[in-house]
């Protein structure tokens, strides 16, 4: 067994860390200030500028195949990079990437949807959740009824990230009620100007998703993504990718937070001693370090499995569950270490606290991950104590 990274991986890790530190972290104070005043922390233009700077260094299209100009670095490198991005709360990621399922576009669709997304000219959103179907995505109701060479969409989607900003949506709708998720759900590429409306949903986080309303929205048949009736599988593929990207970000955030906690504990004096000398605080530091270490290797193992073409679904669920819970525990402890200061908006801790809470909900809640993990075991897809 060998836990060492390759020279390339280490260099990429170091370069991204430096880039984030020198180019992105300087925006942190601005982000906190703007958000305190109810404005977006960082503008689209500023993000674009950072992305162009990174692109000049080749950091563009981390997961995008070379034929589209991407770097296509593979799962391990992406996990390492995502951990580094997680070290800042500035909502930055490298440009040049598109939702994984957009690669199922046909040639004509690629020109209108995939390529413009890769090039940052158009924005997408992924819309499966409905008011009556979240965890139970199989029970979505949005209907798509064929009318000549069009489909007519009716229904509502909710909690759609970027739903208010996107130019088009990947919408999952029922084309065959009988079959439902077993061959009766289809994914459509639906431009905003085909007539859907969106409304922003304020949340405890700094950015909000949107609800999307479809009233007799006519979508041309050629806008089916993939195949008729094969939409549910695409939806699961999309969600599958987040299963290790989310905990990777969580690891980066938790590492930065723990360092803040350690630094503060060494300087904050109460009853004549730095609080770092109190066991209560030391245990918070130790517990956090242990959990971060575990989460990091769970994520990297899941990524390693993906990279080696193995079925990583079980491991990815473990990573998503453990990483999200870990980050919530770490940010809670670090907030506690900071006392009243941690609760203020002077520091980013309370912001991270609010953001991390989402990680336990979207793209499969904690409970849904546990459901998957236990089912795999109960049904014998995975065995306890399998030889590695």
């Amino acid at each position: 067994m060998d836990f060492t990274l390759s020279d390339e991986q280490r260099m990429v890790q170091r370069t991204v860390r430096e880039f984030i530190q020198k180019e992105v972290m300087p925006y942190e104070q601005q982000v906190l200030r703007n958000e305190r005043e109810g404005r977006p922390g960082i503008s689209r233009e500023e993000i674009k500028e950072l992305q162009l700077k990174a692109k000049a260094l080749g950091f563009w299209g981390i997961n995008t195949p070379e034929e589209y100009g991407g770097a296509n670095l593979g799962a391990i490198m992406s996990a390492l990079i995502t951990m580094e991005l997680g070290r800042t709360f500035v909502p930055f990621s490298f440009g040049g990437s598109a939702d994984n399922i957009l690669y199922y576009c046909n040639e004509e669709q690629k020109k209108r949807y995939l390529l413009p997304v890769i090039n940052g000219e158009r924005r997408s959103c992924f819309a499966i959740t409905e008011p009556g179907a979240g965890s139970d995505a199989r029970s979505i109701r949005m209907s798509a009824v064929k009318d000549g060479d069009h489909y007519v969409l009716n229904g509502e989607k909710i909690f759609i990230t970027n739903g208010n900003e996107a130019d088009f949506a990947m919408v999952f709708a029922v084309t065959d009620k009988e079959k439902g998720a077993n061959g009766g759900v289809t994914c459509f590429l639906v431009d905003r100007d085909m007539g859907w409306r969106s409304e922003y949903i304020p949340t405890m986080g700094e950015w909000g998703p949107a609800s999307l309303v479809f009233e007799n929205v006519r979508v041309p048949e050629e806008n089916i993504l993939g195949e008729l009736g094969k939409g549910f599988e695409l939806g699961m593929k999309w969600i599958g990718q987040g299963r290790w990207a989310i905990p990777a970000r969580a690891v980066g955030a938790a590492e930065r937070l723990l360092q803040m906690g350690i630094d503060y504990a060494k300087t904050r004096v109460t009853f004549g001693k730095p609080i770092a000398e109190r066991q209560a605080i030391q245990w918070m530091i130790a517990d956090s370090a242990v959990e971060i270490e575990a989460a990091k290797w769970i994520v990297l193992r899941a990524a390693w499995m993906v990279e080696n073409g193995m079925d990583a679904r079980h491991q990815s669920s473990i990573a998503k569950l453990y990483g999200s819970v870990m980050a919530n525990q770490v940010v809670d402890r670090v907030l506690q270490i900071h006392g009243g200061m941690g609760y203020t908006k002077e520091l980013p801790i309370e912001r991270w606290y609010r953001e991390a809470r989402l990680w336990r909900i979207f793209e499969g809640t904690d409970e849904i991950q546990k459901r998957t993990i236990s089912r795999n075991l109960l049904k014998g897809h995975v065995k306890v104590g399998e030889l590695l």
């Binding site: 020279d7 390339e8 260099m11 990429v12 170091r14 260094l57 080749g58 770097a71």
Partner: protein, 255 residues
């Protein structure tokens, strides 16, 4: 335009110095390219991009130095030479003999190094190398403009700028302000491993024992004394001034 760059791998500036039985411990420490050498690498790569030629790195260091070498190759250097120092003690005198011996026989128009290494801070090695090779040297440069057979160089002299013209080939050491070192690019990182890295030992350089013998020894290493709490003066301005003068004379004994 063939350029040689002298590079050293040093402690990460963010590392805490830990003394263990009188020596600085390297356990668990991250190493980086000496920041001043990064300016030298950047300048060399920039000149190569403008005028063509090859950039060759030279470094004396243990196996771990290869990480710094790969990073410099990822920044755009073409090839590297690592000379393993072995276990014998060396000082700036011996190091410069080693580097000069490794350089003799190579083609170069310019040698660049850092103004000093941030760990030992002696700032001697590069200049000694120039003396060994009997070429001119200019230290602490902040600007380098190449002409036909000479270069116009600006150097930092304790805050002032001195402008000198110097004939090629020469050696210069880089000061902060010379340039803004680039990040290694992703394609650069991926290519770095394929670039030639020549491995030498001291034995390959045919130096005599006397040439390697340290001329200096480190007798002790210790942490700087803890800073004392300052003394606040109070009262009318006039009184404070006279108190200060008294203290400087009687306690600090500096006037």
């Amino acid at each position: 335009m063939d350029i040689l760059v002298l590079m050293k791998q040093t402690f990460d500036t963010e590392e805490k110095i830990v003394l263990q039985s009188g020596a600085v411990s390297e356990e668990g420490v991250q190493f980086i390219i000496n920041p001043y050498d990064e300016y030298a690498i950047e300048e060399a790569v920039k000149l190569k991009e403008e005028f063509g030629g090859q950039v060759t790195l030279l470094t004396v260091g243990p196996k771990r130095t290869e990480e710094a070498i790969r990073t410099a190759l990822a920044m755009g250097a073409d090839q590297a030479v690592r000379i393993d120092p072995g276990d014998e003690p060396l000082d700036e005198f011996g190091l410069s003999k080693i580097l000069a011996a490794a350089i003799r026989g190579r083609k170069y128009d310019l040698i660049l190094g850092g103004n000093m290494a941030i760990d030992t801070g002696s700032g001697q090695v590069a200049l000694r190398v120039a003396e060994e090779l009997e070429i001119p040297h200019v230290s602490a440069i902040t600007k380098l403009t190449l002409q036909e057979k000479t270069a116009i160089v600006e150097r930092d002299v304790e805050g002032d700028v001195e402008v000198v013209e110097v004939g090629l080939p020469f050696l210069a050491t880089a000061q902060q302000g010379l340039n803004e070192p680039r990040y290694p690019s992703l394609p650069g990182i991926m290519k770095a491993k394929k670039k030639p890295l020549e491995q030498l030992t001291i034995a390959d350089l045919a130096l005599s024992e006397d040439e390697l013998r340290p001329r200096t020894t480190v007798t002790a290493q210790f942490y700087p004394a803890k800073k004392q709490a300052g003394q606040l003066l109070s009262g009318e301005l006039n009184e404070q001034v006279s108190q200060l003068a008294q203290l400087l004379r009687n306690e600090a004994k500096v006037i």
